[in-house]
Every structure is written in structure tokens, then in C-alpha cells.
Amino acid sequence: MYKYNKLWVYLFIVPTLIVFLTFYFVPILTVFTTGFTEWNGFNAPKFVGFDNYKMIFTDDNSITVSLMNLLKWSLIATFIHVPFGALVAFIIFKQPFGWRFVRGVFMIPNVIAVSAWAIIYRFIFNDQMGLLNNFIRKIGFSDFHTNWFFDSQYAFSAISLTWVFYAVIVTLLVLSDLMAIPKELHEAAKIDGATEAQIHWRINFPLIRGSLGTSVILSVIARITMFEAIFLTTKGGPGNSTYNISVMLYDGIINYEFGYANAVATIMIILGIGVLAITTKVFKMNKSVYN
């Protein structure tokens, strides 16, 4: 071996280890333990068992609304957002005229601040000046008036529309899986007389299930952590109809109900791990694609 002090190897890990301990390890332990305490940040935490969880599930309907919204948004993510992103990937994969341009442009909403995007959408859905309502009025429904974000009938859909079709991450993930499929597979299938549809169903879909699974995980977890798109548009309203678990956590923190907030955060972490476990199983992501 060549001479270097083995200490260096450990020294190089230290900064990252400190970041990990300060911002992940200790916080996660704090979240798990103080979820069982009553704690406002000023006094010492007082152990109260499952009281916070009881409170969350019985005090009001916030958690029920949040979980229902999460369920609906997760279904929208899985059955509209991910398939749309994959559809764009399949089209771009054929490299039609302008595909580079489309791929490049599709990324733009993803690189700008989510807060800016939420505020822009607040104006797009504005009744008087907004693009959407004016467009609807222009194509013939001249009496159409709706305040999307402030009407309980439409607020949920309006928030969904701020993200549902912006699926560029799905597109890029699926595209990189599609490009990894050996060309010989397609050629062999064609020689054997397979139709286009058969190639898609029998070859492409099974081979891209990894990226589809990753896409579902990423987009459902993004629904769990979705904050700006709600906080900067409806603030969870009207009433609490567009409330979600991230806004619930935020409200707990700024009201200095730390025990309660961390019980919510624990639920959040468990949901995240649940999504990961279920999706990995459904998409058989732990099994190798090529063998």
C-alpha cells in the first residue's frame, strides 16, 4: 500500500457526518419521541402517550380531510400525472420533429420556484383577469364566472391543475429507461411479426417498470410534501377543503404545538415509507429487469 495516514479517510467523512447528525438523525429521533409528548418548545416535553394521535384523529376533521385529499391526489398522480409523463416520453422516444425543443421546454416549469409558479397560477385562475376564465368566455361561454381557488367546488381541481400535467421528471426517467432497451430486442420482435402494440405491451412496459415505479414514488411523496401550491393559493380553504398534511404540520409548528406537530410529522414519515414499500412491491422494483 502507499503511504497515507488512514485518519484522512475518516476526516473526509466528518463534515457530512455532522450534517447528517444535526439535520437528519437527531431531528428524526426528536420527531419520533416528542410526538408522544406535550411540548411548546419553552417547557420541557411532558410524556402523554398517544394523546397527540388521539387528538389528531378525534379533535376535528383536519386529518380526515388531509388524508382524503392525499388519497385523491395520489390517485391523480398515479393514474394521470405518471401516465401523461410516460406518454410524452413514448412520443419523444420516436424523435419526431422538434422533440428536443419539447423536452427542453417541458422542463422549464420544473426549474423555476414553486412559489412563483403557485402565484402565477393564482392569476391564471383569477376570474376577472385570468387566462383560463377569459379563454372559457372567449370560446362561447360568455357568462362563465368562477373564483377557482375560493369556491369549494373547484378549489381542489384548481390546485390539482397546478401540477398534474407538469410531469417532466416522469418523462425523463421513462425516456432514459426506454433508451436503455437494446435495439436488437425491438428488431427481433419485428422479425417475429410483432405489431407495434405488442412491442409496447410485451417489451417496453415490462422493461420500464423501474422508472414507472420510481415516478409513482416520487410523485406521491411530492403530494405528501406539497406545500406552496396550497399555502400560496387557498391556504387550505375554503374551510379546510384543500388542507393537507404538510400545511397541518406547518400550522402545528407556528402555533408552538410541537408535540402535536411531530405526531403529524411521524404520520408523514410512515406514509412515505408505506408508499415506497407498496410501490416497490407492485412494480417488482427489487427484481432485476434484464436477466
Binding site: T22, I92, V105
Partner: protein, 279 residues
């Protein structure tokens, strides 16, 4: 044969409709706010689809002269750049050790670091909020810098470790033979060769920090300490009915991200893929 042609035509038509839709939803909102920032308030309200009658930058000038806009911009630049650079250094050091050496606890540590990817972003918000309060850093730029350093841990580590793994060990060995020190081998041989990985991880972290809202909102109080994405929220109240200025501000805030993206399209797209593939 004819049916086949018709079918192919329909597929072609459908494909292009999807692509046009994709381009529209991505560009129209941004074009709309940019075009509107050159229109009068009245024109924005009454003729939302019309083009501006004259091009002047008055709205932009007044946004730039606004009390805190420049200090908000300065904060965003300072915080995003410094946290990205420090994080790059930290994670490059760790990634180098993970890629090139064996040591006790290597596997355990790597698994622990990787698991941080599974924690939904805001779940640790209360402990971080309290930590920042406890250290007296609440409402300072430093608070955001150190919180943002932690943000890209797992993904950056993956990207950088892969870069260092691809650098041949023979280079290191040759340098050691010529009695180069551990640090020299890292800094003068490995780091320059890991440029692509550093760029990918750096751009990913920079964009994340530049656009971050949640912690920026929670950890600052005074107007002059806000970053741009946070300040935007207050502009909407401040300008309440002056849409021209608000749209100019929105354009100014979103423009740098778009320019950076256009300059480094390949890396940004690459970083999304490597960020999504979590091993």
C-alpha cells in the same frame, strides 16, 4: 394498406397534439406574465390576451427601486451560492472516501446517509426550526445557508461517488509513488476529473436552494432577510392591485432559473435522472 395509413396518420396527429399541449402549458403562463408586465394595469384587467401597445421598462425600474428587492436578490444569490459550494465540498470529501477506500463502518454509514432520501422533506421541520432558534440564528442568512447545505446530502453523495468511482485508481497510485499527499491526490488529481459530477450535483443543489420556499418562509421574519421566492409572497400583498409591477417582479424572479437552465440544459436533465434513480 389504406387503413394502416389512416391509423398512422391519427397516431401522428395525436402525438403532435400532445406535444403542442405540453409546450403550451409550459410556456404560456410565463409568456403571459412577461407580456403583461409591459401592459398597463387597465389593459391587464380588460384585454388579457392583447399585446402591449408600447415596450417600456418602467415597471421593472420601480420593482428594482423597491425597498428590499435588491437585498432580497442579494440574499438569494449569497445563500444559494455559498450553501451550494460548501455542500459540494463536504459531499465531495465524503464521496471520495466512500468511493476509494475501505474503512470500518463504511457500509452502515452509507446506508444511513442513503436513507435520508426516504424522509419526506418537511417532516423534520420542527427540530430544525427549534435548532435555528436555539442557536440564535433565527432571521439570519446564515440559518438558511446551513439548512440548505443539508438539503442535497444523499443525491449529491450518489452522483459524486459515481464520479470518483469512474476515475482510475492507477492515477492515484502513480501520484502516491511520487510522494503526493492524501490531500494533493484528492484535490489536484481527483477533484478536477470529477468536474462533470460536481457540475451536475452543484446545479441540482443550486436550483433547489434558489427556489426553496418552506424553510425560507419559516426561518426569516424581517423583509430585508427574505430570499426572492419568499419575498414574492409579500409582494403580492404589497402591490395588491398593481399587477404590472407584480408581473415584472415575477418575471425577474423566474428569469435567472430559466437562464441557468438554458445554459446547462444537459446537466439539469441529467441531474433529474440521477436524482430520481435512488439506487
Amino acid at each position: 394498406m389504406k387503413a394502416d395509413l389512416l391509423k398512422r396518420g391519427l397516431v401522428w396527429l395525436f402525438s403532435y397534439l400532445v406535444l403542442i399541449f405540453t409546450v403550451c402549458i409550459s410556456l404560456v403562463p410565463l409568456l403571459w406574465i412577461t407580456v403583461s408586465s409591459f401592459k398597463s394595469n387597465k389593459a391587464i384587467l380588460n384585454t388579457p390576451f392583447a399585446l402591449p401597445t408600447e415596450i417600456n421598462f418602467r415597471a421593472y425600474a420601480s420593482v428594482l427601486q423597491m425597498n428590499n428587492f435588491l437585498s432580497n436578490t442579494f440574499n438569494s444569490v449569497l445563500i444559494s451560492i455559498s450553501s451550494t459550494l460548501i455542500a459540494l465540498l463536504f459531499y465531495a470529501l465524503a464521496a471520495y472516501s466512500f468511493a476509494k477506500f475501505d474503512f470500518i463502518g463504511k457500509r452502515t454509514l452509507f446506508i444511513l446517509f442513503s436513507v435520508t432520501l426516504l424522509i419526506p422533506g418537511h417532516a423534520t421541520a420542527q427540530p430544525i426550526f427549534s435548532f435555528i432558534n436555539l442557536t440564535g440564528l433565527y432571521d439570519t442568512r446564515l440559518a438558511l445557508i446551513i439548512v440548505y447545505i443539508s438539503a442535497g446530502l444523499a443525491v449529491s453523495l450518489f452522483i459524486l461517488r459515481a464520479s470518483f468511482l469512474s476515475i482510475p485508481r492507477e492515477l492515484d497510485e502513480a501520484a502516491y509513488m511520487e510522494s503526493a499527499s492524501f490531500w494533493q491526490v484528492f484535490f489536484h488529481i481527483n477533484l478536477p476529473l470529477a468536474k462533470a459530477g460536481l457540475a451536475t450535483a452543484g446545479i441540482l443543489m443550486f436550483l433547489g436552494n434558489w427556489n426553496e420556499f418552506f424553510y425560507g418562509f419559516m426561518l426569516t421574519a424581517s423583509a430585508e432577510n427574505r430570499t426572492l421566492p419568499v419575498a414574492l409572497q409579500f409582494f403580492t400583498e404589497q402591490f395588491s392591485y398593481n399587477y404590472t409591477q407584480l408581473f415584472a417582479a415575477l418575471t425577474l424572479v423566474t428569469l435567472p432559473s430559466i437562464i441557468l437552465y438554458m445554459l446547462a440544459q444537459e446537466q439539469v436533465q441529467q441531474s433529474v435522472v440521477s436524482g430520481g434513480v435512488k439506487g
